[in-house]
Subunit: 398 residues, 2 copies
Amino acid sequence: MKVLLLVCDGIGDRPIEELGGKTPLEAAHTPNMDALAAKGECGISDPISPGVRAGSDTSHLAIMGYDPYETYTGRGPLEAAGLGMEVKPGDIAFRCNFATLDENMVLTDRRAGRIADSAPLAEPIDNIKLDGAEVLFKSLSYRGALILRGEGLSDKVSDTDPHVTGEKVHKAHGLDGSPEAEKTARLLNDFTGKVYEVLKDHPYNQERLSKGELPGNMALTRGVGMAPDLEAFSEKTGFDPCCMATTSIIKGFAAMLGMERIDVKPDYKERIGQALEILQEKDFILMNIKEPDEAGHDNEPQRKVAVIEEVDRALEQVLDFVDDNYFILLSDHSTPCGIMDHSGDPTPVIICGPGVRTDHVKIYGERACARGGLNRIRHMDIIPILLNLMNKSKKYGA
Amino acid sequence: MKVLLLVCDGIGDRPIEELGGKTPLEAAHTPNMDALAAKGECGISDPISPGVRAGSDTSHLAIMGYDPYETYTGRGPLEAAGLGMEVKPGDIAFRCNFATLDENMVLTDRRAGRIADSAPLAEPIDNIKLDGAEVLFKSLSYRGALILRGEGLSDKVSDTDPHVTGEKVHKAHGLDGSPEAEKTARLLNDFTGKVYEVLKDHPYNQERLSKGELPGNMALTRGVGMAPDLEAFSEKTGFDPCCMATTSIIKGFAAMLGMERIDVKPDYKERIGQALEILQEKDFILMNIKEPDEAGHDNEPQRKVAVIEEVDRALEQVLDFVDDNYFILLSDHSTPCGIMDHSGDPTPVIICGPGVRTDHVKIYGERACARGGLNRIRHMDIIPILLNLMNKSKKYGA
């Protein structure tokens, strides 16, 4: 038996007046999702716990059965993994932006003119030597990640990113008074100085200046976290899993859980078809479809409805699959258009497959699913429920 | 006001094709359970948490309000208590089997020919002296329990039971490298040697051999646990409780919670009548009816339906009782026929009695109860909910 776990990113929403008081999911014409709801068991699921607003990172950790309160240390390690860096437990990792400073180290552009190819600038940074830790750096466009690797480091340090133009690059400082935090802050400040040194007159920046483009002469750090020691998802569950996602954060997340990442096709129908084909070999796919979230962030209810309907059409292929396999449809978190950001509202969930106690819910929607047989669960419950249905759980007791 | 808490062991199930897609509970004709559902408040309850498969031991601990993660240490102490042994906090207790070894200490029969009367063999074992701990041993048929009592012992030791014939009795070894575990393993190995010594030529075994029966010349150990220091249920709740059960594990469990155990009548009608009579004196009965679980383990849906209907007929006597008293009907865990073992599916629950917020559920079934007023709770919630309804809870705060 195989498992397709589909995260429709940010699909949950709130009633919207222009949709006649319906949510985008309720307003959308979704015959396939509704058929899956009818075949499966439905409910609502809180990403973390009722009312808690989750990020994509923490909600995905919870979906995969990892307690975010124990395993989430910050965005840095996930970004680094998402960029293809090998992240080791204990690494101190940061999200970075290539930025433009003037000659007084004052920030003039936080994305270095949205520099597209930053590889020539990443290389000299990656070669920087610090006294007390190894430096690892990688980038994609203006975004990058820094890893400090060594003994006696801490993630209790402040950002060097001032977050607003017109300010000088911030000095990092330790946040808890520990010698480890002080050491890490010192290393980070050394790093900042050396980055400016190697980049300020770098030929690639000279070339950019000559073309009227902003130079990338600084790598600002934020989102620090110490890489956690996560048990691989395959070890934890026995599945041979892979991840199909488009965003670097989910890719990084998958890498940290030891999951193979597969490049996905843009078209949803093709993507689902691709997944069903991969499931001839693998037995577990985590798929993330990002676009509903983006429509929510942009407050475009009609676009969200349209994206949902497009996903729905792709799901026709899954209707037969669930007779002998498991399909779980949920949202990592709600991204209500009216909020233009993630919210802590629960998300609708369907679990289809052999043995489920099919309920009377025949519509995939926030309010329809709230009356389903699963009642109200939490994302952390999803994998235990799945393993139980598949009779793969260990018995606790005798 | 009195309380009858009836655990229909393993009654929860999954949809079964030969029952027309119904569960045995849904397929059974249960007018009395349904009337109780109509009178009470219904819901579904997870033995531990969603998807987690519970044993009978851990699920009953949860039902009685003891957190299994804090109080469950293994099956041994419960088995020992179930055999009527006095188990003290700190005791290291083991489940044992009388077994047959050949002259090379190789296991030839794991149950010593299912020896019926093992008391003559238990006595010399109970008299064994070890250097560093007291030995207590008791048995019923081929099953027994061993207690090692003394200072500096540990339950982090491996089984001596090889679990398969054709293997030698295993040497116990410490599992965590602690001196306590090493000491306990040494004692257990001494025990094994002495058991063989006192039993191999024992007259009772000679007699069995002469009758063509297998000798019981070893007591294999498994299911080790250090007896926890449990607060008595009466202390915890103020009830004067007793337990009506047929299985040794539940009897042992009741003993460890300081509950009086009462021998039950086989006929369910008589048993419920007996309970209502006892409740003239006592104010709390935990009753376990084991047979639905057994039908699930044996994958006999029709038998499960029949057993449920028999329980239902006995419950007619409870219909009036609940006007002035409390009756709780639930399942310790689901035992789906298709799984032939416990599963982590939630179980249906009814709470009847003064003050409950009667809901619209009029059927006792897995899916009907999922729509009830209790929504989805956990077994650990049952006793707090009951104490609250009876206005016996302490206020938390002011």
